[in-house]
Amino acid sequence: MRQYLPRAVAKEVRGGKALFLLAVAGVALGVASVLSIQLLDASALGAFSGTVKAVSGDADLSVLPWAGALDEALLDEVLAVPGVAAAAPVFRADVAVDGRPGVTLELAGVDLVSPRKGPRLLDAGVLEAALGTPGWVAVSSAWAAEQGWRAGDRIGVSLGSRRATLVIGAIVELERVAPLASRRLAIMDLAQAQGLLGGRGRLHEIAVRATPGVSPDALAERLAARLGGRGRVATAAQRTVEAEGLLGAFRLNLTALSLVSLLVGGFLVYASVRASVARRREELGVLRAVGATRAQVVGLVLGEAAVLGALGTAAGIPLGWLAARANVAAVSGTVRNLYLLEGIEGIALTPGLALLGVVTGIGGAVAGALWPAVDAGRTDPRALLASISLEERVGAGAARLLAAGLAVLAASAAIAAATARRWAPAGFVLAVGVLVAVPLAAPAALRVLTRLPRPRRLGVREGARRLGTRLSAAAPAAGALAVAVAMLVGVTVMVGSFRTTVVRWLDATLRSDVYVSTPSWRRARSEATLGPEVIAALRALPGATVAVMRQHAGFGAGRRILVSGVDAALPAAGRRVALVGGGDGAAAMAALRRGAVLVSEPLARKAGLDAGSTLALRARDGEVTLPIAGVYRDYGTEGGAVLLDVATYARLYGPGLPSNASVDLPRGADPEAAVRALRAALPGAPLLIRSNRTLRGEVLAIFEQTFAITRLLEAMGLLIAAAGVTLALLVLARERRGELALYRALGATRGQLFRVFLGRGLAVGAAGLVLGAAGGWGLALILVKAVNPAFFGWTLEVAVPWATLAGEAAAILAAAAAASLYPAVAASATPAQELSRDAL
């Protein structure tokens, strides 16, 4: 049988190139979907850990601030702890490059003189220049090449409204040290970095190396005991786990979406193998008759599927790599802006990921072929050799499959309902139930088509009507399309709901006329502050009311959160927050002035907090417990955020400058004119001065960017499904050549046969659309009502983007029609002479 397999595969390919290629394409796209997401995922985490490695070397532990920065004096204390062999201080700042919007440098100020374990970043020869040249900085060769920088170039940078000039002192091959490290990473002398960027006496990390023989865990305990609440101790692995946790929900959702594409690809393999088995019943019957065992027949069919899967994988891996590369910018933007982690600078296909692609492709193909293979194996030779009506069997099974689908749906709903409160993935269980039920309902949906009124003439409607009697080929295609449509509709409604919710949230909370921050604020937060001259210029605007905000990434309720201090005493401050449950904003602000805190909805959900409970917040001098006055809606950060009054903020974190400000103008004043006036008053200042309208536009642009990768996955799913429609119709055109020849013999024109197949394609499209819309509506409710609250902590209002959905429906039908063109042409070319004795 092993010798027979290559011949069988070769014969299959020769006999149906288009069918084989379509199935290979289905596998390739499925592999590409899964692999592209995993590549981006691994690269996002690799960027984080790679940057940690590049900055901290092979440190065993890191001492990190709970909030803001560490006091430099801690370095001596750390060095004094027994078991510490070396401690390297690090000052980090994300600075914006002047005159290049969006271009930043992730500056790391390190002690260039102290010995460093691990690969050397800088050659010994440049040390003197690094220490002696003001603003000397080493940048990565990749970033220098992209920005057109050469050694000796001077570049202006800003941190908040503070400016500095850096000199490109060295261009280093960072990839050599840590291949996935951020290309934006720049190394300079610690003291210079602190001095230039206003951080004297402040550190962001102390990288600690343990004395040989001392366990890092034991040393971590000793260090934590010594530091008390002044710093936290983490291993590099723990930091990567933290980053994984931050990205967890984002990664999980994308992985789930990519798996749907793989599922759709699996349908294609199923349809292709089923058609192949049906076409070769006689061959399989003869093999059984001459002594092949059932297992050998199953093995032969699965072996062919594995070859198909291998070819699909070979195409899918480079395709996945290209898809990931094309989406680096969008996903990197989300990781940088929403999760404040290092952006993805490149993707690397590791052997592990390549293996994942192979397992996905070949495993998916074999799984798709399993049922037809087992079915062929268990059929006895006599039945294989006899002509049977497969349609009859499938037709009779339509009701049973529908019942099975409904049972799966009911069971998944029961499991989800029983576990929803204590198990976050409960919503996914129900979503899987929907995705299983939708294709199982496809045969029954197609059977309904047979009830269409009989047309007078052979054409589109007759093609659609008769599809109900062609279930074995058409049902998998309709099922696959329905799954892809369900995903499309579900995600479209979810994104539409999310967008509407965010717009309403912006309407409710973004009430000022002008907003001022700095190019480096988004990532540098508390380090990127507005100078007093900026606040003075804002206050100088006629009739302006200025509100300032201080902000940093801190720790509360045992997790990394965004801590913001706002002026709760300002008039109408209560209108700037939208409380969950519609509570009184003014009362909440009054409570803030009394020292209470407002927690964001994601934080409340994830940490189990509510109004009336308390929040454990890491402050400058240790942990404090604050009463929670309420829970507010926040769609800005998934990790969680808290709002304090500025006075409480100053008490807990010390005095400091604001990181951003907003201006309320008198009624009737023109915000754009105020923006122009401020720019004129602060010429050359590295500031982002935006009107309400501009800021809203930017927020929504970031929102759209976050979902860019989702749209790619949707498109891939639909592309596979369209290939499925073509495949199904080609199968029909091949299997039904006799019938087509009969029609031709009875006087049907080529145009009529073309229209019959167009009708079939449209019918598959319509069935997939109707079933997918129903399933998609269910998925949308699950995503909006269960998955988003459980994983991201956001409450979304259901808002249906009808116009978008209508456009998508038209596109799906057009795609189905386009997918049927080639089979329709092939079918219409069937000559009447094809009538052979066994053709019908």
Partner: protein, 235 residues
Amino acid sequence: MPPVLAFRDVARSYRTAGGELPVLRGISGEVPAGRAVAITGRSGSGKSTLLHLAAGIDAPDSGEVLLLGRSLGRLSDRDRTLARREGIGLVFQFFHLLPHLTAEENVLVPALVAGDPPGPARARARSLLARVGLGGRGGDPVQKLSGGEMQRVALCRALLRRPTLLLADEPTGNLDEASGQVVMELLLEVAREEGSALVYVTHSRELAAAADEVWTLHAGRLEAARSGGAAPVAG
């Protein structure tokens, strides 16, 4: 009035691995309206090919096939298809009924293809089914019919649109003797009643004898054309 069907020096060969294989060589002959012609000959003598040429589903390499005086070879594919649709009824050895349709639905297929008004077509189908003894069986799935019954359904399908020419390719070849006899009798009777010319291929001398004329093919040539005498069909 031109003959319903005429062959003018028709030749047809097929390309095979061993080179050109001539199947028909210079066939000429006419089928007048209302006449029944039986084509006989050994296997491979070109009988079915001649029938396919008559139906316009195959084209000669040289010579002409004329349907009611119109050369099929000069028509476009579409016009040839329409000529077949309007003027020819086909009966096949293996019936070629669509398995997912009922008997009556199978009979109605040509009306569907042509876009005929459904009411009159259905009435005609029922009348034909009754005529061939399947009056109450129109709603039966064709898979439940016997071979003889299936061929009678196929005969009704061929006659539905009142063709001027009825072509039958070994219509009894897949039937037992008794059923074959019944079908052949019906074929001849109904063709006469409907006024259709009939050309049928058969291996059986007895069945050929029932035709008005018998054409015998040998090695691709029309060896003899003689009057059949229209004898009653005998087993």
